[in-house]
């Protein structure tokens, strides 16, 4: 670990926009319906619309596909099978070398001979309209040979269970064991060794805009242009080029407005890759927009973990050890290129993260299933490791008789102990667990709330309070994916240019998903250069026009993309000041750029406007001194190098009421205090925290992809898959502690996932706090439905 010293120049700039709730510059455009989502892009009447024939079976061999009737249907351009598409592309395998031993089978855009989950696209119909394509898709006749479906992770490795991919030998995708310290010795020393099993249902991210891609292959230029609502345009550019055997500069990926992503749109979906292939095959534009029904069976699912967790604690409250044994069933393949091993890996890496303890043992087992693919979704692994950790901490509180807040205070890492390493050896640069918890307890008035809860219990009203401390991975370096061989950019770039009227054009590798990235980029750019935000033009999401970058995932866009913008902005300011100095026959060091005007640095007196600098540099360079060439474009790149991640931390609390007769849970209040370092935009950070909490509450109370034993998803629609809705949600109060990272000048860490990380744990602990006086065993099986609550209470 390195002691870093940051230069916080950007926080000291005059007229700084950092830390201000600047409204989103793109909000009016979206509010007026003038956004450009993929489905808004029209490429004319030659465009084909794709609909996919999806497997009705979880596991079945394709004996034959009869496409004759479909080809003859009105408006049909082509019907394409896996074997035809396989002639023009190479399959992929979703493994990373740093997840040692992870295996998966080659996956094609459409499978060659076997469907391995219900909903897998197995043939494509391209027609003049989506409706005609759907009509024809019903006419594709497939002769299926149904095979036994592997649907229970617990028996996936049994000798008599069908092996999904015979070439792999078994259904084990990956197993990781980790051992630090001496858990057995800790158990011997402890006064209490408590074991609980926690279950996390499969759920998914439901984006307002479904997945969509419009691919246009121009054979005359050998150029593939795709409009794609991806989170990472350069990654998709690389993948399309690699697997369709094109040079990378022959592929352009454009991601304009994106209607929510949450990690759903960061993956290589076979149907999207197939759509690009259809365009190449047919030499015409092909559009595919997933509908709501197919989204549920083809957008990645996540979580689906069963974790046996153990905590060892002394009577004085000292936590000595944690242990977990985690089992997860991913889909039939590991997702490409990020793999489906990361969620389990995160759990192993991050268990117990907020606390000081020396002994840790973990096993994670990842098995293949004949269900939809699983992969990274908002706060990968975090809600699981947090709920297991915090559930066990509450068990320890019950066993020792210590107040849950007091037990946490005694074990949370001290705020003056950084830098240091976790029990698993991960380095922490600068966290604030104690201060965050203190601020949380103050915000909720913990003691008064406990008194209220206790008084209400006397009157038969059953309320509970739950706490959860957490750490969160943000700003990942190349240690996340790059070291494992994934061609995913950890760095990000920004290019800034002064135009002839003195306005500033900003192109960034970070992408806008609806989260407000354009606002954050504009604040950083405006501050770094010294112009008001309205003089900026922000361009994102176009591999032809933005610097190479990773895009938006793992809470990296503000911290990494923002820092690149800060550095590019400062470089551009210095270039502008050199040009101004040449014009004014002044030392550049005596000048500054503030509010779009070059001023005397000492007095602030106005010297020359940016419009005048632009005019002279572009139209009258003849008037500049001999030998002076104005350079008014600056590009900078940034990647964290010293720490693998910028960990953030925080604490959440839930206050809820359980209706013991109906099993219904009413969320009354929710608090979150989090520390994402420098807060660039308090409004947007709070929106991220609240939105994240909502998705965490969804997993805790509502969301579950329900499968039957044959691998059929039973609730693949918006009526039966319960996303959390406003009426059921509590007020959410956000607070912040700011411990900036010294890896960057900006000091910003990520804020996009902290809400999702801690909310399920807080709700679980609050629920069990409410149920405990009623003699119910702790509920640890999410989502906590009325049925589960009634059963725990013995009412049914």
């Amino acid at each position: 670990m390195t002691d870093l010293v940051a230069d916080r120049w950007i926080l000291d700039r005059p007229n700084s926009y950092i830390g201000r709730s600047v409204p989103r510059p793109n909000a009016p455009r979206l509010a007026e319906g003038r956004g450009t989502f993929v489905d808004d892009v029209e490429l004319g009447r030659r465009t084909g619309h794709a609909a996919f024939v999806r497997s009705p079976h979880a596991h079945a061999r394709i004996r034959s596909i009869d496409t004759e009737a479909a080809r003859a249907a009105p408006g049909v351009i082509a019907v394409v099978t896996g074997r035809e598409l396989a002639e023009i592309h190479d399959p992929w395998v979703g493994v990373l070398t740093h997840l040692e031993g992870l295996k998966s089978a080659p996956q094609y855009a459409l499978p060659l001979d076997t469907a391995t989950w219900q909903g897998e696209a197995v043939a494509a119909v391209v027609a003049e309209s989506r409706a005609k394509a759907e009509d024809a898709a019903e006419l594709v006749a497939i002769d299926w040979e149904v095979r036994p479906a592997v649907t229970d992770p617990a028996t996936a490795l049994d000798p008599d269970t069908t092996v999904i991919h015979e070439s792999l030998g078994d259904n084990l995708a990956w197993r990781r064991n980790a051992n630090f310290g001496d858990v057995e010795a800790a158990y011997a020393e402890a006064d209490h060794v408590i074991e609980e099993t926690f279950v996390f249902a499969r759920h998914t991210g439901v984006c307002v805009e479904p997945r969509a891609i419009l691919a246009d292959f121009n054979p005359a230029e050998e150029q593939l242009t795709v409009w794609h609502n991806t989170q990472c345009p350069h990654m998709i550019q690389n993948i399309l080029a690699t697997h369709y055997r094109l040079d990378e500069h022959r592929v352009r990926v454009i991601a304009r407005d994106v209607g929510g992503s949450f990690g759903i749109k960061v993956h290589t979906y076979a149907d999207e890759i197939a759509t690009a292939g259809l365009s190449i095959l047919l030499k015409r534009p092909v559009k595919f927009v997933a509908d709501r029904m197919e989204s549920f069976v083809s957008d990645i699912h996540a979580r689906d973990h069963r974790v046996r967790g153990t905590i060892a604690v002394r009577n004085d409250g000292a936590i000595l050890a944690f242990e977990i044994d985690a089992l997860t069933g991913i889909g039939p393949y590991s997702m490409y290129p990020r793999t489906s091993g990361i969620e389990a890996n995160q759990i192993v890496n991050l268990m117990g993260g907020p606390y000081v303890f020396d002994h840790y043992r973990a096993q994670a087992t990842v098995v293949f299933q004949n269900k939809n693919m699983m992969c990274q979704y908002r706060a990968v692994g975090h809600p699981i490791k947090c709920a297991v950790t915090e559930g066990l901490v509450d068990s320890a509180a019950r066993a020792t008789g210590l107040d849950p807040a007091e037990l946490r205070r005694r074990n949370l890492r001290a705020d003056d102990s950084y830098p240091c390493r976790s029990a698993q050896g991960l380095p922490f640069e600068n966290l604030s667990h104690q201060e965050s918890l203190a601020k949380l307890l103050e915000a909720m008035d913990y003691e008064a709330l406990k008194a209220e809860r206790d008084a209400l219990r006397e009157r038969g009203v059953h309320r509970g309070i739950g706490l959860a401390s957490f750490i969160e991975v943000t700003n990942p370096s190349a240690m996340f994916y790059g070291v494992g061989g994934a061609r995913i950019s950890a760095q990000d770039g920004a290019t800034m240019r002064l135009d002839a009227r003195g306005n500033v054009f900003v192109a960034t590798g970070a992408t806008e998903q609806g989260q407000g990235m354009e606002a954050v980029i504009s604040q950083v750019a405006a501050t770094a250069v010294g112009v008001p935000p309205e003089r900026l033009r922000i361009v994102t999401g176009d591999t032809d026009h933005t610097p190479y970058g990773g895009g938006t995932w793992a809470s990296r866009a503000a911290g990494i993309g923002g820092e690149a913008v800060a550095q590019a902005g400062r470089a551009l300011r210095q270039q502008i000041l050199r040009a101004a100095a040449a014009m004014l026959q002044e030392e550049a060091a005596n000048l500054d750029l503030r509010g779009g005007v070059v001023v005397d640095a000492a007095t602030g007196a106005e010297r020359i406007g940016l419009d005048e600098i632009g005019r002279i540099c572009y139209y009258r360079p003849d008037t500049l001194p001999d030998g002076f060439q104005a350079e008014l474009v600056a590009t900078r790149h940034y990647v964290p190098r010293k720490y693998p991640f910028a960990f953030t931390n925080g604490a959440q609390a839930s206050y809820l009421e359980v209706d013991v007769e109906t099993g219904f849970i009413t969320l009354i209040d929710h608090w979150c205090v989090e520390d994402c370092g420098t807060v660039i935009n308090p409004l947007l950070v709070d929106e991220q925290i609240r939105g994240g909490i909502v998705q965490g509450l969804g997993g805790a109370l509502f969301e579950e992809c329900v499968y039957d034993r044959d691998g059929q998803m039973l609730n693949a629609n918006m009526a039966d898959y319960l996303v959390p809705m406003a009426a059921e949600l509590p007020d959410m109060k956000c607070g912040h502690v700011e411990s900036p990272t010294a890896e960057s000048d900006l000091g910003a860490k990520g804020a996009g996932e902290a809400g999702t990380c801690g909310a399920p744990a807080a709700v679980m602990n609050a629920l069990n706090d409410a149920l405990a006086p009623l003699g119910a065993k702790p509920l640890t099986d999410m989502p906590f439905t009325p049925r589960k609550v009634l059963r725990a209470l013995g009412r049914i």
């Binding site: 409706a131 709501r292 049925r787």
Partner: protein, 285 residues
């Protein structure tokens, strides 16, 4: 999620409707507010040859004071019932049920008659119709006939509306002196179809119950009037013991289904909870 191809006829008169129904038989579906039908079309759960839109047929919409009853036209939008002073004054059960019917956007388009004719066993309005003893007016080529709510709902999505016929209005008796209504449902999220719900319409006199109806939705293949349980009320004042007797009787009387949210045992249990919570305030006055 594009529907299979279908033809569309905008009817101007009921005769237009009958003509299409006669010509196309089972291939024709009547389109009212479309809030259930269009979703099933888009999901390709149904693929009629032709939709007959009754939105422009005169005389099908509106709430009318017809003496002892309110006559609610089949094309009356939910929102009109929800905000109707007549409904609030004379059919408090409907008024209290309306906010639970889906969401405001759906209530702006969806129709009272559509909900009754669709006969979803988990929907609020069929249960209210049974509880209040409403009468359905069904029109056909040969004229109109009236069917009691009890015999209107015949099973899962099945009603007394025959081939070539259309539901045109529902006659809902006004609440009589000494009668009280209560409505409650348990839905995972507000606006969802309820796990189970209760429409209660009972006579209360001097703190004692007279006759009345306890009609459950989400409890069977149609609205379920728990007559044996309701009979336990007669002549009784409200008490915990009475609540327990009714809850026990409901466990015998109800034969609910299992779905993702609840099994039969849970629905029976919740039915007892609903009765307690709905009737206690009615008894209190």
């Amino acid at each position: 999620m594009k529907p299979a191809p279908f033809a569309y006829v905008r009817a101007e008169t009921l005769d237009d409707v009958f003509r299409v129904l006669d010509e196309r038989g089972d291939g024709a579906r009547v389109l009212a507010g479309g809030q259930s039908l269009v979703a099933t079309l888009n999901m390709r759960l149904s693929a009629p040859e032709v939709l007959v839109d009754i939105g422009r047929v005169a005389g099908l919409a509106g709430i009318e004071d017809a003496g002892d009853t309110l006559r609610i036209g089949a094309m009356t939008r939910h929102v009109e019932v929800e905000t109707s002073e007549l409904a609030a004054a004379h059919t408090p059960l409907l008024a209290s049920a309306m906010p639970h019917v889906a969401h405001p956007a759906i209530r702006n388009r969806g129709t009272f008659g559509g909900s009754i004719a669709f006969a979803d066993p988990a929907a609020e309005l069929p249960a209210c119709a049974v509880a209040l003893g409403a009468r359905m007016t069904i029109a056909g080529r040969g004229g109109s006939r009236t069917v009691d709510a009890d015999s209107f709902f015949r099973g899962l999505y099945e009603t007394a509306v025959g081939p070539g016929e259309v539901l045109t209005a529902v006659e809902v008796p006004k609440i009589a002196a000494g009668w009280r209504s209560g409505f409650m449902e348990l839905a995972r999220r507000h606006g969802d179809y309820a796990i189970i719900g209760l429409a209660a319409h009972v006579q209360v006199d001097g703190g004692r119950f007279g006759g009345g109806r306890l009609v459950f939705f989400g409890a069977g293949d149609r609205p379920v009037s728990a007559t044996r349980s309701a009979a336990l009320l007669e002549g009784e004042a409200w008490s915990d013991a009475l609540a327990a007797r009714i809850a026990d009787e409901l466990k015998e009387e109800l034969d609910p289904f299992e779905d993702l949210n609840a099994d039969a045992a849970m629905r029976r249990h919740l039915a007892g909870v609903l009765v307690g919570r709905t009737l206690a305030p009615l008894a209190a006055g």
